[in-house]
């Protein structure tokens, strides 16, 4: 039996698998939210999803368009104020994993969601930091998911909105009360992890059918590959069914709106 799936589905399913049952996950909107909810609907029914809008332990039936859709509150255990969310739950150390997207990422996993070009005269103005700068430092660890391209994977981000490991890979060293930082990056081509010593991103697993050259061509620096380079497991039929149902439900819900 051969299973058909898109590279976007491969990315989401792989990102979902990174989450373990029972983890508390601070969820960014978009791809992270899709992956986190897929995890909840498949192998990790007790994963705890937390959105920065204040919704604690939420179980939306469809994917939210915004970080504060009504669905998130209605299906949450409880909803707290935004200051409480950032103070007690994130800074207070209650989050196992922060799940983030980004516009740019570099070899030391630094994230840029602020702007392309120079800060005073930007070529492209991006939305800004939002919750990410403190999610990346206060959560126990960080997963990052985004599409792989030379535009997004750059040698040096134009601006460090959110810390990975700094310009030299050492920015977390000796800092008290800081999380482990990014532990894996999941794209539509592969899975990467920071080198335990240098913190430079290393490809540890290629998605089925993806070549080393494809990854290198989509990366803005000479990326390292692990000596033991794995093949990422394929999505199962069930994972794909659940993901497609979720996306179809979401589509119908948002299309049906006034």
């Amino acid at each position: 039996m051969s299973i058909e799936y898109t590279s976007a589905e491969m990315m989401t399913v792989t990102a979902a698998k990174a989450l373990e049952n029972g983890m508390t996950c601070f969820v960014g909107i978009g791809l992270p939210s899709e992956a986190a909810n897929l995890a909840r609907l498949t192998h990790a029914p007790d994963v705890v999803l937390i959105y920065e809008s204040g919704t604690l332990q939420t179980k939306p039936d469809v994917l939210p368009l915004s970080i504060g859709d009504g669905e998130l509150c209605e299906s949450a255990l409880t909803t707290v104020s935004v200051p409480e969310m950032f103070r007690y739950w994130l800074q207070g150390g209650k989050i196992d994993v922060g799940f983030l997207g980004t516009a740019q990422i570099d070899r030391y996993c630094n994230l840029n969601t602020t702007l392309i070009g120079d800060y005073q005269a930007p070529k492209v103005r991006l939305p800004g930091g939002g919750g990410a700068p403190e999610i990346a430092t206060c959560a126990g660890e960080v997963f990052i998911t985004l599409k792989h391209s030379k535009r997004t994977f750059v040698d040096q981000v134009d601006f460090i909105t959110t810390l990975g490991f700094g310009r030299d890979g050492k920015a977390r060293d000796g800092v008290p009360n800081i999380g482990r930082g990014p532990t894996r990056v999941i794209t539509d081509l592969c899975v990467m992890k920071p080198d335990p010593e240098t913190r430079e991103l290393v490809v540890v697993s290629l998605h089925p059918g993806v070549t080393v050259e494809q990854v290198q061509d989509a990366t803005g620096w000479e990326i390292r590959f692990a000596e033991q380079l794995d093949t990422t497991p394929m999505p199962s039929a069930n994972e794909l069914d659940v993901l497609r149902d979720l996306k179809a439900r979401t589509e119908r819900k948002h299309a049906g709106e006034a």
Binding site: I67, G70, P127, G128, G130, V175
Partner: protein
């Protein structure tokens, strides 16, 4: 003590040119009706504060009301850019807007500190971020007990805050329910506060620890039905996600935006889009 005013009169009385203004509501209960009234009254040189500028500030900035923007995430949620904000920052249209950029954690703490009457908020924030290099409102202090370096930002203390809520009772006590964001903080931190509500009721029917703001802590209450539309009011109407997507097209082009503004704000009486 809260006074019941028309939205027109509340904005005319409390929002002055040059004022520092916070309009809050985190995705939920965004005060669009109040924002449109500010646009209609052609207020100018405002310092606008908001964690997520959203469409409401895209509209205010495009309409030329803003001089400065203090924010932490300036996108159209789930859709993309705020084109009017970008046009102002990147091209200076209709004029240049100065931006002071924070993280959500810092803004949330700054609202909390403002409500708490403090001049600063202290947080474990901005570690390794380059935001402190472009925003001189971000400083660092040393904990006198542990020596830990912590971020400090000035508290948010707007001249006036505008928020939307579900309902008020006849004494002007207000219930905010669902995603409550930083609305209570915005009201308590402000010199003056205007709350628009969906309706006035005899009894708020609130639980013992619900988010209720006493009328004596509010300056003006104005009824604005669907006052948060196209965002939503928990228990009243859902978010118009389609409009949020359509906004991308409307706001991308200056002329389309101007036409939209004329039709839906300037010529729309006291009604929100």
């Amino acid at each position: 003590m809260a006074e019941f005013l028309s939205l027109h009169d509340a904005v005319a009385r409390y929002v002055e040119d040059g004022a520092t203004v916070a309009m809050e509501g985190f995705t939920h209960l965004i005060p669009f009706a109040a924002g449109h009234e500010v646009i209609r009254q052609r207020k100018r040189d405002l310092t606008l504060i908001r964690m997520t500028p959203d469409l409401v500030y895209d509209q205010l900035i495009g309409a030329g009301c803003a001089k400065k923007l203090i924010f932490s995430w300036g996108g159209n949620p789930g859709v993309g850019s705020l084109h009017r904000l970008r046009d102002a920052v990147e091209k200076g249209w209709p004029h240049k807007v100065e931006i002071f950029e924070h993280s959500h954690a810092a803004m949330a703490c700054a609202f909390e500190a403002g409500a708490a009457g403090l001049p600063l908020a202290v947080l474990r924030g901005y570690v390794g971020s380059e935001l402190p290099s472009v925003n001189d409102q971000i400083k660092f202090i040393e904990c006198p007990f542990t020596g830990e370096r912590l971020a400090a930002v000035p508290s948010v203390r707007p001249d006036v805050s505008l928020v939307h809520a579900q309902k008020a009772d006849r004494k002007g006590n207000v219930l905010v329910e669902g995603i409550i964001g930083v609305q209570k903080e915005a009201i308590l931190a402000a010199g003056k506060s205007i709350v628009t509500v969906e309706e006035i009721v005899d009894d708020l029917e609130a639980g013992p620890n619900a988010c209720v703001i006493p009328g004596w802590a509010i300056d003006a209450i104005a009824v604005a039905e669907k006052g948060a539309y196209p965002s939503y009011a928990h228990g009243y109407y859902p978010r118009n996600n389609r409009f949020y997507k359509e906004w991308d097209t409307i706001a991308r082009d200056r002329d389309t935006f101007q036409t939209w503004l004329d039709e839906n704000v300037f010529n729309a009486g006291g009604q929100a889009q």
